[in-house]
Amino acid sequence: MVKNFTCEPHFMMKAVTKAGISFPISKAEALAKAGDLEVKVDFDKYVTLRSILERMVPEYYDNATFFYNAYMAAQTKELKKQFNY
């Protein structure tokens, strides 16, 4: 059976909460709050919250819905590269 790490969004949300990111917020403010926090993205792999935020396109987020849709769009772009879509 293929081992598939499915919990990345969960760890992303935990990191966002820990960073004190609330809405509305600009991308710049979110990056400032991110500090050195890390997000678990695979069974044995962590990346910085900053690196995820930097890949997200909008510069300002009115609410959490907008923020996490932008997150999913950015993450799916990475999935496309990973699976050579």
Partner: protein, 296 residues
């Protein structure tokens, strides 16, 4: 394509199905084998039926992340197999593959209707993907196709039912039967039931709602496939758990007759002619342009 108004009664089997959460094409083939088995089962148990309906994600399930690996082309083997089966059995089929378009765009969650000669007669791309977890390309229109026994068929997919605009677009394009295929999970079973009943009632249409069951890496799917009449009354429903075959016998033309013959309770007409019986408005009423909701 055979269009048989016949006795005007559309007989459909809604298959409440548990697709395997596919991580490779072998898993997709497994799901396709089971789809074909269910089609044989449906015509064995209910000979003479017109249509067999499968839920959203019936070929692929919705495996987190890895679903991107198992997107299908429209001319792929699983779709060819179900087309051949529809032709062999002389039934219409409704299926929902996640499709990799030829033009290089990202994946489209696509419902297809196949006629009893194995031809794909309708394609619908989900207009309202389930945000933010479903990053598929949104569709642009909810169209309609001619179905058997007087049915004008539209398909909506899962979260589409949360948005009244999608239902109304299907009806304005002429639908008298809306097929709602889903991979709808608990604990939202109340919303599943509510949206099917509300969609049927607000739009004066029959609703044939086929949902998934089973469990995958993320969710438990809440079944409860159902048949709803244009007054929002549930005519038949399946249990929340367990694979099931639900039979529907409906008169599509009854909804069409309402649109033409009804004196009252014609909610779709009423919404576009508000206050029509007011002496100041001479039977015309106020139209859609008078609503402010989309003009602010």
């Amino acid at each position: 394509m055979s269009v048989d108004i016949g006795n005007g009664v559309l007989s459909a089997v809604l298959v409440q199905f548990a697709p395997k959460s596919a991580t490779c094409m072998e898993d997709v083939d497994y799901n396709t084998d089971r789809i074909l088995e269910f089609m044989d089962r449906a015509v064995t148990g209910f000979p003479g039926i017109d249509m067999i309906i499968f839920p959203e994600c019936c070929f692929q399930g919705m495996c987190p992340n890895l679903w991107i690996k198992v997107a299908l082309k429209m001319d792929s083997e699983p779709i060819r197999r179900v087309r051949a089966k529809c032709k062999e059995l002389g039934v219409w089929g409704v299926f929902d593959p996640w499709v990799k378009p030829d033009d290089g765009r990202f994946i489209e969650n696509t419902a297809i209707i196949i006629d009893d000669e194995g031809e794909i007669v309708h394609k619908y791309v989900k207009m309202c993907p389930w945000l933010p977890w479903e990053p598929t390309v949104p569709g642009r229109e909810c169209g309609v196709c001619q179905g058997p026994k007087g049915a004008k068929l539209a398909v909506i997919i899962c979260a589409d039912s949360n948005y009244q605009e999608i239902w109304r677009e299907a009806v304005h394009n002429g639908a008298n039967v809306i097929i709602h295929v889903s991979h709808w999970m608990g604990p939202y079973e109340a919303a599943w039931k509510l949206s099917n009943q509300a969609g049927a009632f607000f739009n004066n249409v029959h609703v044939l709602a086929a949902n998934s069951v089973g469990m995958d890496e993320a969710f438990v799917y809440c079944g409860n496939s159902m048949v709803v009449n244009p007054n929002g009354v549930i005519l038949a429903e399946a249990p929340l758990t367990g694979e099931w075959m639900l039979r529907a016998d409906i008169s599509p033309l009854a909804a069409t007759a309402t649109a033409i013959q009804a004196v009252g309770t014609n909610r779709v007409w009423d919404s576009a002619h508000r206050g029509a019986s007011c002496p100041d408005l001479d039977g015309f009423g106020l139209g859609y342009e008078d609503y402010t909701v989309y003009n602010k």
